[in-house]
């Protein structure tokens, strides 16, 4: 293993980043599942509809939107907007040598907030469940970004 993995904080980061990225990736199959199993088939492309029907009239109708599909897609989009910045900022954060307990808290709070967010979004739970879990995740990432910028600023002042 590379020397980076000898660092405790970096190993924690790698584990939680891998878990939360798998969660992001699974939104793709979930959307595909909804496209096929909702009361109505709902495809985005004519060639996808063609694989389910050979009648031209029916093919056209199968290219449509469905509320459950759109909901999964919006959740996927929110994951892209939240989880990807977390992994990018978290990687830099893990390299600045933060306090291990404090870093672990950041990683765990973020992963939990995104699991709550996904359940709240896909099951359409009443607000503010989804809004709050989104805000907690955002705060966690911003806190890590602040540490990165602050640590690098201190580094310049000291040297």
């Amino acid at each position: 293993m590379a020397s980076l993995m000898e660092d405790e904080v970096f190993r924690s980061f790698a584990k939680y980043a891998a878990i939360v990225t798998v969660k992001l990736l699974l939104m793709g199959p979930l959307t595909a599942y909804y496209r096929i199993t909702r009361k109505v088939l709902a495809f985005a492309n004519p060639e996808d509809a063609a694989a389910h029907s050979s009648k031209p009239e029916e093919k056209k109708q199968l290219v449509r939107t469905n509320e459950d599909v759109e909901r999964a897609r919006r959740c996927h989009q929110n994951d892209l907007e939240s989880i990807v910045p977390f992994v990018l900022v978290g990687l830099l954060y893990a390299l600045t040598g933060p306090d291990p307990a404090w870093a672990l808290l950041h990683f765990r709070v973020f992963v939990c907030s995104r699991l709550v967010h996904t359940v709240a979004y896909v099951m359409a739970l009443p607000q503010p469940s989804r809004g709050l879990s989104w805000a907690v995740g955002l705060m966690t990432t911003l806190s890590m970004a602040h540490t990165v910028i602050h640590t690098l600023y201190l580094f310049i002042v000291i040297s």
Copy 2:
């Protein structure tokens, strides 16, 4: 701090990557702000509308699109498509040991181009302000990607 952070170019990269990722993250709150403050409330989900009104008729009407909200969303999407590749490619670029002054120029030009792009997009400035700033950011990232591929190719030829 990890040994990576002892490298001058990597520290510059980490600082600019953190700044530009924070810019990306702030597009989320901006969209939420527009959803609530435009002349009309505009939500994407029924449960969000439910938190603002209990009348069924009104709830349905609150699920709609608004030009300012859509504009912030498109800007957010463009950030995802531009800033995320910059951070990914920039990380690999910083590890190939580029000339520090040249690397710093790449990072600064990119961050400036994205700030101009956001102002041009959100305030709907006349073209080609937005198109040019987008193209400059794209060129910067492609230039770094070229250096990564070229350096690794040279490495194989030498060894």
Copy 3:
């Protein structure tokens, strides 16, 4: 060059990650090209339409959607959802010290699957060409994520 680049697997990763991220970035210019060259001009923003016409009536009509533009946009979106997680997970995977031949196989299969996916999407090839190439890419990334989580788990058990 940083010591990370002395690692054979990391160099392979860096090369393929740079190539596949360039492919992702080129979807932006492709969409812009379609916006301008399709039978009808199709812009997302009024200021873009204003750069092509000064008549208010015509400007309004130029803000519309076009099937080829939307297709390129959906392909771009799928790239964001697939390629970005690949680079994030692949980076962590390369740091866990995998078998070089096995790692190279993962990287090459992923890059090939995304090239096939793009051709299948943009040229609207009959299914299941696009679905299969998407699934192969997803499996590759999930396999790498599994290795990351498994290696870190073993690490904790051993130490």
